[in-house]
Amino acid sequence: MRHRKRRNGAQELTSVEQVAGNGLLHRRALLGRGIMLAGAMGTGVGASGASAAAEPLKNDPWSLETGSVLPPYQAPSHFEKDVIRTRSNPDNEFRTSHARTPHHLLQGTITPNGLFFTICHSGLPDIDPAQHKLVIHGLVKQPLVYTVESLARYPMVTRVHFLECSGNSAPMFSNEPVQANAQALHGLVSNAEWTGVLLSTLLEETGIDPKAKWLLAEGADSPSLHRSVPIKKALDDAMVALYQNGERLMPGTGYPMRLLLPGYQGNMNVKYVRRIKLIDQPAMSLYESKTYSQILPDNKMWLFHFTQEVKSFITHPSFGLTLKGTGFYELSGIAFSGNGRIAKVMVSADGGKSWAQAALEEPVLPKAFTRFRMPWRWDGTPAVLQSRAWDEAGNVQPTRAEFVAARGQTEKPVASPLGFPNQHYNSITSWGIGKNGEVKHVYV
């Protein structure tokens, strides 16, 4: 596509390649991504060119007075007071509490600890790390007890991984699109850098009876929440995590220690882990037998659907945001897969009629958020924005039609985005842009 634009009174020819319908531009049009087309150099790909002249500059109060004292532990600027988690149970009634991550207000890939999603089935426990113990027993050669202090002396690993509730995105099982933002639809996934001791290191010390096929991991919280984990996973990349993004875990994410099972459904990553028991059969705990099992369309149910499958969604722009005028926008979003690295993300601006490949921010890590970006020029006509991800194992995020055919949808519209009609939704999210720039949640 070639077009003329006016800048600083001079006529300049800008040549930018449109790669898919409704104004998707080639990803190399993003700044800092190698060769720009000659005509676009230095001017970006902005097309509106309609900005009014800026006001004369003046000194603001904060440039003229001394600042305040530094806090010992800093919090975000008070201007960021709306960048918070949404809570499903603010009065701590006798039921599960969810706090969802505001993806539409964040950038990059690391979720800040204060905004990391939390689900507690019985409130936040207040655990004294000096008293907390982790016992490993059952089908081992020698049962052993570890403390926070003793684990601190073990060889540690640091790895970036996402954590996703298998009920994340569940409102999208609705047969009609629930009008809710990325936080409400997808806020039960977050991504962090975890540091801890590999479980295999501790199992070397206890020894493993060959009869052990599973382990159960149990928390120190009041429901003593427990889940069964295949030994195969425990010896692969399971970690007893102590640190999150450099600091100790938050109470909502398992302080003082949690099991981390990269790529596996969130609930299995048992928080406050106090007991690991090697067993010869799965325990069939409530959460694996019922809550996080899923119903298929034909009176069949999936048991042990552990892996969080490949998923992506656009965060910028997304529901609730309004485009202010035509012209250049950078579309961006998050992609991840419990099966490994993200291989590719395709983006569409015309509801899936045509697609173009997005740029992936490095490093692209296994079982971790990857940020994708895509340059787009909005011409003011209705558009439908979508992203679709592939992982390195060859899995592709299903279209809605493919997903519904295999896993079904509700017969009636889902009334609340807080509901969980079913588990493990990973199809495409579509944001419909109206002529007025308003962004809605749509199905195509």
Binding site: N89, E93, F94, R95, T96, S122, I136, H137, Q142, P143, L144, V145, Y146, S150, L151, R153, Y154, P155, F173, L198, S200, L203, E204, E205, T206, I208, K213, L216, S222, P223, S224, L225, H226, P230, I231, K232, L235, D236, R275, P282, A283, M284, S285, L286, S289, K290, S293, I295, L296, N299, K300, M301, L303, F304, H305, F306, T307, R407, T410, E411
Partner: protein, 189 residues
């Protein structure tokens, strides 16, 4: 950890074959006996492993339920408080958003286990073994999975054939190394 790049399993085997099994690790785990883990060792497995002595019937369970469970779970397991799931419901799951109640469970041991560790919600781990068996019997009888007069104990509970048992598909058995659970043979009924 670089020497373990070939995989943690290989690492375990190498270390197990060495003269000093803890040569590569700090060895700061404190030995403990299974007897001293008893207070925490409360899980019940589908084949009945972990079930304590004791027994109870639905009739005994009804009074305990009314006192300790009905506030949240509703009288006779229906019409629960907000955010609490009902305990009684259909045993067919024709819609993908069918409410999952006790008949969803593959094994009856799941019911005993979750009550033992997590209930009552504000006073977990306070139910006696007799109460747990009686409540298990009551809730199973409300769902017409067992009869009103059947006693539940360490032998009978794992033998209860749950109505939804054969409808589960293991998602990816090869990937997770699944081996099916075989509870004790058919129920006496």
């Amino acid at each position: 950890m670089s020497m373990c790049k070939a995989g943690a399993l290989a690492c375990v085997l190498v270390v197990a074959g060495a003269t000093s099994p803890r040569a590569e690790t700090p060895g700061l785990g404190q030995p403990i006996t299974e007897a001293d883990i008893t207070a925490w060792n409360i899980d019940v497995l589908p084949d009945g492993t972990g079930l304590p002595p004791g027994s109870g019937t639905a009739k005994q369970g009804a009074a305990i339920y009314a006192q300790k469970c009905a506030l949240c779970h509703g009288e006779k397991g229906v019409n629960p408080a907000r955010g609490t799931g009902p305990l009684v419901g259909p045993s067919r799951f024709d819609r993908i958003d069918t409410m999952k109640t006790v008949p969803y469970y593959k094994y009856a041991t799941t019911l005993f286990d979750v009550m033992r560790r997590a209930m009552p919600y504000t006073m977990p781990k306070t139910l006696s073994n007799e109460e747990l068996y009686a409540l298990s019997a009551y809730i199973l009888a409300l769902n017409k999975i067992i009869g009103e007069d059947e006693a539940m104990d360490a032998k009978t509970l794992p033998q209860v054939k749950m109505p939804n048992r054969d409808n589960f598909i293991v998602w990816d058995p090869d990937k997770i190394g699944y081996e099916p659970v075989r509870p004790p043979g058919p129920a006496m009924r």
